[in-house]
Symmetry: C2
Subunit: 398 residues, 2 copies
């Protein structure tokens, strides 16, 4: 298959960007990515735009990518709009990769963007439920919580996953909090992170309970932001910048109900990505995982094969996944500290990996990073997520 | 590039399907397409789902394809959700084609579906405006109509295009009506069409004016429906069915405002498709065009090169584009008679072409059809549509 590189990245600061529109966020990220690639608008053959919520939040459905493209001076570039809940923009990367490998395009821009602030919090939380089968939400809510109404459907889901994980691993509330502590320290080193203050374990545990055992400081915040990548066929040259090779981008979808496989979707997808890339968990230097709630990072350690079953808390406590450790996870702060503008997260994870693999991550640089992996899950079909991608990138030295 | 065939098609009856849900419509079409291909669910490597409006109409955004896949017994098949206004499901075909040409997948299911009835008409018409840049709608409405409020934004757009076309071509109201007359006669032969009664010119002209010169009988109706295609690499064999080769599937996006090229998006996209397929308009045996309003078919005759500038009415009057003529256009009734469930239309056009190229179109068969073209435009950026695909298919004898 034709080899494909990421030759440019762009990202906006994440957080509450009250005076900035969705289209403007997306345009900023796209413009930065094209400039970083040393290219110009006319070099872009296709834009694949990932957004999850603008249809329900703003009424701008159908042509979100075209609207952003116009804002960025990219009108006339063919546009595909891709949606896959929290996995929207890494799914867009999957499409872009196919588009280049097919020979139909040489250079493809991918942008993930989301604008969530400026609306009542409950409106946003309700809109998030469209990442689940809306006809099954009452039934799933009752099954998970024994009640009919929850503050946040998705945090109720993550709380239940966390409780099940605690049962099988013995993880303590302190273990759960320590994920947030680690990632807040990472986020403090990331100029684009929504939260840049290192938290203490006590602070995390003392914060308001959203869905036991999750406190607010273990939950990804409502955020605005955008991130973009330029993908280019390796046979077209790398326009002088440090290219990062896409070694795999596996896409999976979940199975609802009793028919769901015993192996979770994230592990199934990771196994496909490892096979495609010809690497294993022992080869990874830096990892991004989808910690929409902090404890999920412990679960992902196990599903990605970074440690054995039940060993998540031990791996965390060893410092292996902290900056300076053997395989730092979420060096940019992850979803909880960097922020989680839903449609932007998949691209944001890859922007971080590229930055690390190029050796340009400044204070949060993972020394000698050559191979990175990003896991990005989205939506919920009970018990599986609705979608998952696992992407493996390799820097120039790998 | 790897050759790709359409090896199976499925379509539901179009119309007011009040007791049928979006997921059920999609599942029916997908199940039929897989069976038509002589395949089973386990053969499908990827589902690309096209829908335009469910996010704003029902709140089910983000994972519409997964919900439909579950209904169809396709859970666990990786899903990509693609949106591009009225061009959604042909854009999904573009993605599927890239996915197979890339070597990442061998067999890809594409489904376009929309559920528009069961809601107040004005709600649906308002939702349609999300196919335009919602921030520019007041400005564009005023520029097109001189007023602030119109019954249907898109019919106001088509009315303005029609008036401009009449000025440059001399097309009369009777010419405009005759498109609807022809297509209603075609639709009468299509068991899946929403309207199956041949109309007279007088009826069409006497119907209620929606936006002058368009009467209701020149406007595509609100409809429910779904259509699906199975695409498969030619090197994987055709599972015993009559395969139809995809010779081109070009995707373009529009340019708003004064920067728009003098050549309309549909012509630019058609030229790209002709170049890719190595055929010209003179090679076409059967054509589907996006007649969201009937007069647009006359404009498309010219943009696709079926006749010269200003010759649309003459071509229509000659009978060349009627069944039995040299190059029948919209043999299934087109958007106005077949119905226009927005996200389904792109696939529905291709289902019709495949049916024709296989020689299985029954009473509406185009004799000896070997090469077909479908033009599918969507959304509006003023003056260009937001998106356009032109797909060229070739039957076994071509």
């Amino acid at each position: 298959m034709r080899e494909v590189d990421i030759v440019g990245v762009g990202i906006t600061p994440f957080g509450k960007r009250r005076d900035t529109s969705l289209r403007s966020l997306a345009a900023d990220a796209m413009t930065a990515a094209i400039a970083d690639a040393g290219l110009v608008a006319g070099d872009i053959g296709l834009l694949v735009s990932g957004n999850a919520m603008a249809g329900v939040l703003t009424g701008q459905e159908m042509i979100r990518g075209q609207v952003a493209a116009t804002e960025a001076g990219l009108a006339a570039v063919p546009v595909l709009n891709v949606e896959n809940a929290c996995t929207s923009s890494s799914s867009a990367v999957h499409v872009a990769l196919a588009a280049i490998r097919s020979g139909m395009y040489d250079t493809v821009l991918v942008c993930g963007a989301e604008k969530m602030t400026g609306l009542p919090t409950q409106t946003v939380l309700d809109a998030m439920t469209s990442g689940a089968d809306i006809e099954r939400i009452p039934e799933v809510t009752r099954e998970l919580t024994g009640t009919d109404k929850v503050e946040s459907f998705f945090m109720a889901v993550y709380a239940e996953m966390t409780r099940a994980y605690q049962e099988r691993s013995g993880a303590t509330p302190e273990d759960l909090a320590d994920v947030a502590v680690k990632n807040s320290a990472h986020g403090a080193l990331n100029p684009n992170a929504q939260y840049r203050r290192a938290l203490s374990r006590d602070e995390v545990l003392a914060a308001r309970l959203v869905a036991p055992p999750l406190t607010t400081l273990m939950c990804s915040p409502i955020a605005d932001g955008a991130a973009a990548l330029v993908l280019r066929a390796a046979d077209r040259g790398n326009s002088g910048r440090a290219p990062v090779r896409i070694r795999a981008c596996a896409l999976g979808s979940g199975v609802p109900g009793a028919g769901a496989p015993a192996i979770p979707l994230e592990r199934r997808t990771a196994e496909a990505a490892y096979a495609e890339a010809g690497v294993g968990p022992e080869d990874l230097d830096v990892v991004e995982v989808h910690d929409a709630a902090s404890p999920n990072e412990l679960i992902m350690y196990e599903e990605l094969g970074l440690c054995g079953a039940g060993e998540g808390p031990k791996l965390l406590a060893s410092g292996a996944t902290s900056l300076g450790g053997r395989v730092p996870v979420n060096p940019d702060g992850g979803l909880v500290s960097r922020g989680h503008p839903v449609g932007a997260t998949g691209c944001a994870q890859l922007v971080e990996l590229v930055t690390q693999l190029r050796g340009r991550a400044g204070e949060r640089q993972v020394s000698g990073a050559r191979i990175g992996l990003a896991e990005n899950a989205g939506g919920y079909l009970h018990p599986d997520p609705a979608a998952c991608t696992v992407t493996i990138l390799a820097g120039a030295g790998a």
